[in-house]
Amino acid sequence: MCLAIPAQVRSLGANNMAEVEIMGVTRHVSLDLIPGAAVGDHVLVHAGFAIQVVDEEFANETIELLKQLDIYQIGEAE
């Protein structure tokens, strides 16, 4: 129940609408739920609305964490 995809805000329009881009495809979506979104921000888009901001720092942090995994062992720190 969660088909939402990351998109980048390309331009802001009237009436809380914005143009976003998903892998080269652009669409108009509503920013009613993320009114502070700015051009260049990445947002999750679901059914024509931006529903949440995608946090780049957390994205990078997660990837870094997962790359360490082959040295991770349960109980090693104990």
Partner: protein, 336 residues
């Protein structure tokens, strides 16, 4: 033509219909083989086996990015004839026009058909038109039937594939289906994508030449790659495994599929060809595809295996395998 829209009388067999045929159809097709007066075309046929195919086009909207129902109607049947390994030669065209259709739109479609026929090197040699009442047709329905000649010694069939054979795809998946859906009411989004509708007779001939052991060709139209591969796997009683990372797809097609919840393997293509060839001829077949018109993005996408017979699998980027199933019914956009 006095009227700028199609009237019921244009289909009635009388003088109005005569004018429609002469002033619009025959004039716009401008094919010397197309007679305005004879009911049947008489043709010179080169010796050999005939390949014969028919298809009817009911696409809506009539005009979409990069093409229209006319181009589709010519390329689709040309490509079906080509899958037999034949050189497409002649087309018949049958129209069902809806009362109220604008003559300007009709002429736009006919011009498209003429251009496609020229490009495909086929002649439109006979045709028919009827008119139905307003509300009983989507503007235009077109039937095209095509004839070609199969070169001697060529005998292709989707039932001939055997384990070890290699599967090639002539280019990027999903362009047509996504281009059409991008203008659909309620779903509009902006994309540079255009339909890939194209005649592939030359591409097929090149591959046949370079890889004479080719088992079959198939165009992944409605139902997409999944339908075509499942049909081949079923007919030959083999399994087919597709390497997901080898399948060429434009970024924008992926973006649209992600947004709408579409499966790219189910999206229609109108200018792509699959070929299954014996492994020792795969490289030659690929080179031939890549240098043929519309084949620049051709790739080897999979391999034929033994079992389970009649199934198609996808090997994902990290080695997990799952089934590539056939589309059931219509592909609908999802939010879930």
């Amino acid at each position: 033509m006095d009227s700028d829209t199609i009237l019921l009388a244009h289909g009635s067999g009388g003088s109005l219909m005569r004018r429609l045929i002469d002033e619009v159809f025959v004039a716009d097709f401008a094919d010397s083989a197309l007679s305005a007066t004879d009911d049947a075309a008489t043709l010179e046929m080169p010796a050999g086996q005939l390949a014969f195919s028919t298809d009817t086009y009911v696409v809506s909207p009539l005009f979409f990015p990069g093409g229209d129902i006319g181009r589709l109607a010519v390329c689709g049947t040309v490509n079906d004839v080509a899958t037999a390994g034949a050189r497409p030669l002649y087309l018949s065209v049958g129209f069902i026009l809806e009362e109220g259709l604008s003559v300007a739109d009709l002429r736009r479609v006919l011009a498209s058909m003429r251009n496609a026929a020229l490009e495909a090197e086929v002649h439109i040699v006979t045709g028919d038109t009827k008119v139905v009442e307003r509300g009983h047709g989507d503007g235009i329905y077109i039937n095209t039937t095509g004839i070609g000649v199969v070169p001697a010694g060529v005998s292709l069939s989707v039932a001939r594939c055997v384990p070890g054979d290699i599967v090639l795809l002539s280019g990027t998946l999903g362009d047509h289906g996504i281009a059409v859906v991008s203008i659909r009411e309620g779903l509009e989004f902006s994309t540079d994508l255009t339909t890939d509708a194209a005649p592939l007779g030359r591409l097929v001939a090149s591959v046949l030449d370079a890889a004479p052991g080719v088992r079959c060709f198939r165009d992944p139209t409605r139902g997409g790659l999944a339908s075509a591969l499942n049909e081949i796997a079923g007919a030959s009683g083999v399994s087919i495994t597709v390497e997901e990372t080898s399948v060429p797809v434009h970024q924008q097609v992926m973006g649209a599929c992600e947004m709408l919840g579409y499966d790219v393997y189910h999206v229609a293509n109108e200018g792509k060809m699959l070929a299954v060839v014996p492994p020792e001829q795969a490289d030659a077949a690929l080179a031939a595809m890549r240098s043929a018109p519309y084949g620049e993005n051709a790739a080897i996408i999979g391999v034929v295996g033994e079992s389970p017979a009649g199934t198609v699998h996808v090997r994902t980027a990290f080695g997990a395998t799952r089934i590539m199933d056939m589309l059931v019914g219509e592909q609908l956009p999802r939010i879930c």
